[in-house]
């Protein structure tokens, strides 16, 4: 078992192309841009959502701080 695992590891290190097991992996030479766009979208989506919620909190915080700063007799 250990021998087989060692052989497999050696094979992957020597010929990494044989380990191309992911069904969605693509050859960049195919000229297909889908993987690139999907990678960009999936990378930016969580960052965009965090930025959106950060902006939302920032806006609410500023509005709340402005309301607190008003004198009490302000209608």
């Amino acid at each position: 078992m250990r021998c087989a695992a060692g052989f497999g590891l050696a094979l992957v290190l020597i010929r990494p192309d044989v380990a191309l097991a992911c069904s969605t992996c693509m050859d960049p030479k195919e000229g297909n841009q889908t993987l690139l766009w999907v990678t960009i979208v999936l990378s930016l989506l969580p960052l965009g959502m965090m930025a959106a919620i950060g902006g939302f909190f920032w806006t609410r915080l500023r509005a709340a701080a402005a309301a607190e700063a008003l004198p009490l007799d302000t209608p």
Binding site: S23, T24, M26, N32, T34, L35, V38, V41, L42, L45, P46, M49, I53, F56, F57, R60, L61, A63, A64, E68
Partner: protein
């Protein structure tokens, strides 16, 4: 004997967002990533298929026009639920929430009918990768729509009994807005 001077009570700022709304936002963000993963996988598998083989030639054509009609019903339900928030102060929220539930039921009911028709045509979860993706993505959205409708019914009942807090109402609207806004993206990727 010293004089005891009471300290002024520390001022506590009102919360900038209700806890229910914040919790729902976190839930919705996680769900957005789930569906982004689904749609990305669908796009990647479609892009890898040889020209003319996606969707597979043996699969029946998806009912684009009829589903477009159901999409309109779902979008209108989103408008109704949005208006319920504006009319909450005037006491008209229950009617608008009810309208949102009815329109949502039209959408989900149509989807159930569409699923049954497609299964009769031999398009199943296991008939092809396209079928697997179709039922997983559209079915997952349908389950979210069903859960959203249950929450809308609960919210309408709570509003009728004047027990619906602004935080809960906001959370309900966020959930339904997510269900409504997500669907056109699914429709564009899976049907068109």
């Amino acid at each position: 004997m010293g004089v005891v001077v009471p300290l002024p009570k520390p001022r506590r700022m009102a919360p900038i967002v209700q806890s229910e709304v914040f919790a729902m936002l976190i839930f919705v963000f996680a769900e957005i990533m789930l569906f982004a993963g689904f749609l990305s996988a669908f796009e990647l598998v479609g892009a890898r298929a040889p020209a003319g083989w996606w969707p597979p030639p043996g699969d029946p054509a998806l009912p684009v026009a009829a589903t477009g009609g159901a999409t309109v019903a779902l979008l209108l339900s989103g408008v109704a639920v949005g208006v319920s928030g504006l009319r909450a102060a005037a006491g008209g929220a229950v009617r608008w929430l009810g309208l949102g539930v009815v329109l949502g039921a039209v959408f989900v009911g149509y989807q159930a009918y569409e699923f049954s028709r497609l299964v009769q045509l031999g398009f199943t979860l296991q008939s092809s990768a396209h079928g697997g993706f179709f039922y997983t993505i559209v079915g997952a959205h349908g389950l979210h729509a069903l859960a959203g409708m249950a929450v809308l019914v609960w919210a309408a009942r709570a509003a009728a009994a004047e027990r619906l807090t602004p935080g809960m109402a906001g959370a309900v609207r966020i959930l339904w807005t997510f269900v409504v806004v997500l669907w056109p993206a699914i429709y564009a990727v899976v049907y068109l």
